[in-house]
C-alpha cells in the first residue's frame, strides 16, 4: 500500500519531528509504566509485610472480647461475672499453699478479657457459606506464682499485680502466654507448620510436646529437645516458631486438648481461625459470623492492612495520590505535546497537503495520512515509553530502596494485669507494634506494557485527529498559495 510506504518515508526522513513527538509520548507513558510498577512494588511490599501474618493460613479470626478499657470497675455485673468465670482461679489464697515458711508453686490460667465459648461453635462456623475450614484455639496466660508462704499469710493475692498493691517480696510471679493448637490443622490456627523455623510440628499422638516462640526461646535459652514446664507438666520442645511482624505470638504452643485439660477448660476455646473459600468471600463470611454470633469480634486481613504504617504506607499513599496525579498530568502533557507537534507539522506541510488534494487525493485520504503518521509515532512512542518505563522500574529494583513497614497495635484492651491481651489478634496472639524493613521492587508485567503502548497509540490518535481536522479544513487553492 502506497499509504504505508508514504508513512514510513515521512517517519524515516523527518527523524527530528518523529523522535520529538514519539519521545513526548514516550516520557508520558514511561512515567505511567514507572509509577504503575512502583505502585505494584508497593503492593507487593505490603503483601510481604502481611504475608507472615496471613501466612498462618487464616483469613478471619473470631474472638469474644469484653471491652475492659475502663478497668474492671467499669464493667456491668454480667460482664464482671463472665470475667470472673473465665478468670475464676486468678485469686490465690496463700494460706492454702502450706504453712508459713513452706515453699510453694502454683499456676493459674487467665483468659483476661477473652471470653471462651464451646468448641462446638467450630462446627457452626464451618457450616456457614463461604467457609472452607475452621480451627479452634485457646490462648491463655499461664501465671505461675512461687515463693514462701508468709508468716502473716491469709491475705489472698491477686493473680496479677495490678489487683491490689503488688506481691510480697518473697513471692515471684511469672506470666507466660500459652496457646492450644489443634495439631491436626497444620496450616490453620494460632501457629502453622510453615512458621516452625527449627525442629518439627507436633506429633499426632498424646505425647506432651511444645513449640516455643523463637524470641521467648532466646530469652529463656530454650533449644529444641529441651523441656518447658506448664502447670507442673513437662513438655518436650519439638520446634521453634518465628513470630510474624508485629505479632505478639504466644510464648508456648501446645496441643489444644492438653491445654484444655491443664486449664480445666474442657471443650472450651477462645479463638476460631477461619479460612474462606476465596479472598472474595472473606468480607461476606466476616459479616455472616458477626451476625450469627452475637458479641463476637471478627478480624480479617483488611483490618491488618489498615494497621500497616511507616514509610511503606507513606510511599503507598504518595504513589496512590501524587503518582496518579503525576501520571494524569504527564499523559495530558504528552498528548498536548504530540497534538501541538502534529499541528505544527500540518502547518509546515500545508503546501504538500494542498498538492495531494490538487493531484486528486480525496479529503479522507489526506486525513488518513496525517492520522496514520501520528498513530505510527504513537506506536513508536509506546515502544520507547515501555522501554523507558522498564528501565526506570529496573533502576528502582536495582537500587532497591528500603521502606519501613510498621504494624500498629490492635485497638484492644489489655488484660487486667497489664499484660498483652491473649488472642484477639490475627491468627496469633494480639498483634502489637512492630516494624520491618522491606526492599522495594518495581515489577513490570505484560498487561502494563500493553497499557503503555495503548496509551501512546491513544495519544497518537488524539494528535492525529487534531492534525487531521486541520488538514481536512485546508482548501486546496489556499494550501497551494501557502508560503513554506
Amino acid at each position: 500500500m502506497f499509504y504505508i510506504s508514504y508513512i514510513a518515508s515521512e517517519l524515516r526522513r523527518r527523524k527530528g519531528r518523529t523522535l520529538l513527538t514519539a519521545l513526548g509520548l514516550a516520557v508520558g507513558v514511561g512515567l505511567v509504566v514507572a509509577v504503575s510498577a512502583l505502585s505494584a512494588g508497593l503492593d507487593d511490599a505490603q503483601d510481604e509485610v502481611l504475608e507472615p501474618l496471613t501466612g498462618v493460613g487464616t483469613d478471619i479470626s473470631v474472638t469474644r472480647p469484653i471491652d475492659a478499657k475502663g478497668g474492671f470497675e467499669s464493667l456491668s455485673k454480667r460482664e464482671r461475672r463472665q470475667l470472673q468465670d473465665e478468670n475464676g482461679d486468678a485469686r490465690i489464697g496463700l494460706t492454702n499453699q502450706g504453712d508459713p515458711g513452706d515453699k510453694f508453686t502454683t499456676t493459674s490460667f487467665l483468659a483476661t478479657t477473652q471470653l471462651s465459648f464451646p468448641a462446638s461453635e467450630v462446627d457452626e462456623v464451618a457450616s456457614l457459606d463461604g467457609v472452607k475450614s475452621v480451627a479452634a484455639g485457646l490462648t491463655l496466660n499461664a501465671t505461675t506464682v512461687s515463693g514462701t508462704v508468709p508468716e502473716d499469710g491469709g491475705q489472698d493475692q491477686p493473680g496479677v499485680p495490678s489487683g491490689g498493691g503488688g506481691p510480697p517480696d518473697n513471692i515471684d510471679f511469672k506470666s507466660t502466654s500459652v496457646s492450644g493448637v489443634d495439631q491436626a490443622q497444620k496450616s490453620l490456627g494460632a501457629i502453622s507448620a510453615a512458621q516452625v523455623s527449627k525442629g518439627n510440628w507436633f506429633s499426632q499422638g498424646d505425647s506432651r510436646e511444645a513449640i516455643v516462640n523463637t524470641s521467648y526461646a532466646n530469652r529463656q535459652g530454650i533449644e529444641v529437645g529441651d523441656t518447658v514446664m506448664v502447670k507442673g507438666k513437662r513438655l518436650k520442645v519439638v520446634g521453634l516458631a518465628t513470630s510474624p511482624l508485629g505479632g505478639q505470638a504466644s510464648d508456648i504452643y501446645m496441643k489444644l486438648d492438653q491445654l484444655q485439660q491443664l486449664a480445666d477448660r474442657k471443650d472450651r476455646v477462645n479463638t476460631l481461625y477461619v479460612r474462606a473459600d476465596s479472598a472474595d468471600a472473606v468480607g461476606a463470611v466476616s459479616r455472616e459470623i458477626e451476625q450469627t454470633f452475637a458479641s463476637s469480634e471478627v478480624t480479617d486481613a483488611q483490618d491488618l492492612a489498615d494497621r500497616v504504617g511507616g514509610s511503606l504506607q507513606d510511599a503507598k499513599d504518595l504513589a496512590g495520590k501524587l503518582g496518579t496525579a503525576l501520571t494524569i498530568v504527564a499523559l495530558l502533557a504528552a498528548f498536548l505535546i504530540a497534538s501541538l507537534l502534529t499541528l505544527s507539522s500540518v502547518t509546515k506541510r500545508t503546501r504538500e497537503l494542498g498538492t495531494l488534494k490538487a493531484i486528486g487525493w480525496p479529503q479522507r485520504k489526506v486525513v488518513r495520512q496525517v492520522t496514520g503518521e501520528a498513530l505510527a509515532q504513537g506506536a513508536l512512542g509506546g515502544v520507547l515509553g515501555a522501554a523507558i518505563g522498564v528501565g526506570a522500574a529496573a533502576l528502582i529494583t536495582a537500587v532497591g530502596p528500603e521502606l519501613k513497614a510498621t504494624v500498629a497495635e490492635a485497638t484492644q484492651a489489655s488484660g487486667p494485669g497489664g499484660g498483652p491481651p491473649p488472642g484477639g489478634g490475627f491468627g496469633q496472639g494480639a498483634v502489637q507494634a512492630g516494624s520491618e524493613l522491606i526492599k522495594l521492587t518495581a515489577p513490570v508485567d505484560a498487561p502494563l506494557l500493553l497499557l503503555a503502548i495503548g496509551l501512546a497509540l491513544l495519544g497518537g490518535l488524539v494528535a492525529g485527529s487534531v492534525g487531521g481536522l486541520r488538514a481536512a479544513r485546508l482548501r486546496p487553492a489556499d494550501a497551494l498559495r501557502h508560503i513554506d
Binding site: M1, F2, Y3, S5, Y6, S9, E10, R12, R13, R14, R351, E352, T355, L356, K357, A358, I359, G360, W361, P362, Q363, K365, R475, P476, A477, L480
Partner: protein, 238 residues
C-alpha cells in the same frame, strides 16, 4: 469541441469593502486539445483563473463548465475525483513531496486509484522514462536539479492520463535553457497526445510556445488570440 467554459466568472477574496476581485466577470472557452497560454503581470488574476479551471477553487459567481457540467455545483469528493482522473497540475515550485523519491512522487498521483503496487510502480517508472529521468527514479527531490524536479512533476501530472494539463509558471524557477527544455517537453506532449494544455506565465516568450494566448490584466481578459511569434517577443524585449 468545447471542453471548459467560463461564464461570467468572478472570484473575490475577502468580503465587503475589503474584498479583492481577482477574476472579474471572465468569459472564456477552451476547446479539447487546445494549447493556450494565459499571460499577464503579477496580480492580474491568471493563477486564480488556473485554479478555477483546475477545480481547486470555486468561483464567487458565474459558472465553470467542464463538458457542460458546472464544477461549482460538484461536491468536494466529485471535484477530487475530477482532479484525479481528468486534470494534471504542474507548479512553479514543483511541489514535490520532499520525503518521497521521484518514483514515489509519481506514484502519489496514482494512489487514489488503488492500483496494485506492481502496476503503480511500473507506470511510475515508465512515465519517468518518458521525461528522461529513469536513472534518477529513486532519488529524493533534494537530490535533483530544478529541471529534473519539474520533469518529475510533469510525469506526476501525466500519471492518470489526464485530458487537461494545467501548468502554473512551470519555468518560473528554472534558468532559460532548462525552461526551454521543459517547454519543449510540453509542446512534444501536446503534439503527441492531443492533451489540452493551459499554461499560466508572465513571460510572453514562454507563452509564445502556445498557439493561443489569453492576456489578463486586473482580473479581466484584455486580449485573446494567436500567440506572437517568439522572434517578435524577443525583439520587443530588446
Amino acid at each position: 469541441m468545447t471542453l471548459i467554459k467560463l461564464n461570467a466568472v468572478t472570484k473575490i477574496y475577502g468580503e465587503g469593502a475589503t474584498g479583492v476581485s481577482a477574476v472579474d466577470g471572465v468569459e472564456l472557452r477552451i476547446d479539447d486539445g487546445e494549447f493556450l497560454a494565459i499571460v499577464g503581470p503579477s496580480g492580474s488574476g491568471k493563477t486564480t483563473m488556473l485554479q478555477l479551471l483546475g477545480a481547486l477553487d470555486r468561483p464567487t459567481s458565474g459558472e465553470v463548465l467542464f463538458e457542460s457540467t458546472d464544477m461549482a455545483r460538484m461536491s468536494d469528493s466529485e471535484l477530487a475525483r475530477l482532479r484525479s482522473t481528468t486534470l494534471g497540475f504542474i507548479f512553479q515550485q514543483f511541489n514535490l513531496i520532499p520525503t518521497l523519491t521521484a518514483r514515489q512522487n509519481v506514484e502519489a498521483a496514482l494512489a487514489p486509484r488503488g492500483l496494485p503496487a506492481a502496476q503503480r510502480h511500473g507506470r511510475a517508472g515508465h512515465l519517468l522514462g518518458q521525461v528522461g529521468l529513469a536513472p534518477r527514479a529513486d532519488h529524493l527531490p533534494t537530490q535533483l536539479s530544478g529541471g529534473e524536479q519539474q520533469r518529475v512533476a510533469i510525469a506526476r501530472a501525466l500519471a492518470n492520463e489526464p485530458r487537461v494539463l494545467l501548468a502554473d509558471e512551470p519555468t518560473g524557477n528554472l534558468d532559460t535553457t532548462t525552461g526551454e527544455e521543459i517547454m519543449g517537453l510540453l509542446q512534444e506532449l501536446w503534439r503527441s497526445s492531443g492533451l489540452t494544455i493551459v499554461l499560466v506565465t508572465h513571460d510572453r516568450a514562454i507563452a509564445a510556445a502556445a498557439p493561443r494566448m489569453v492576456r489578463m490584466r486586473d482580473g479581466r481578459i484584455e486580449g485573446d488570440g494567436p500567440s506572437e511569434p517568439v522572434s517578435a517577443v524577443r525583439e520587443e524585449a530588446v
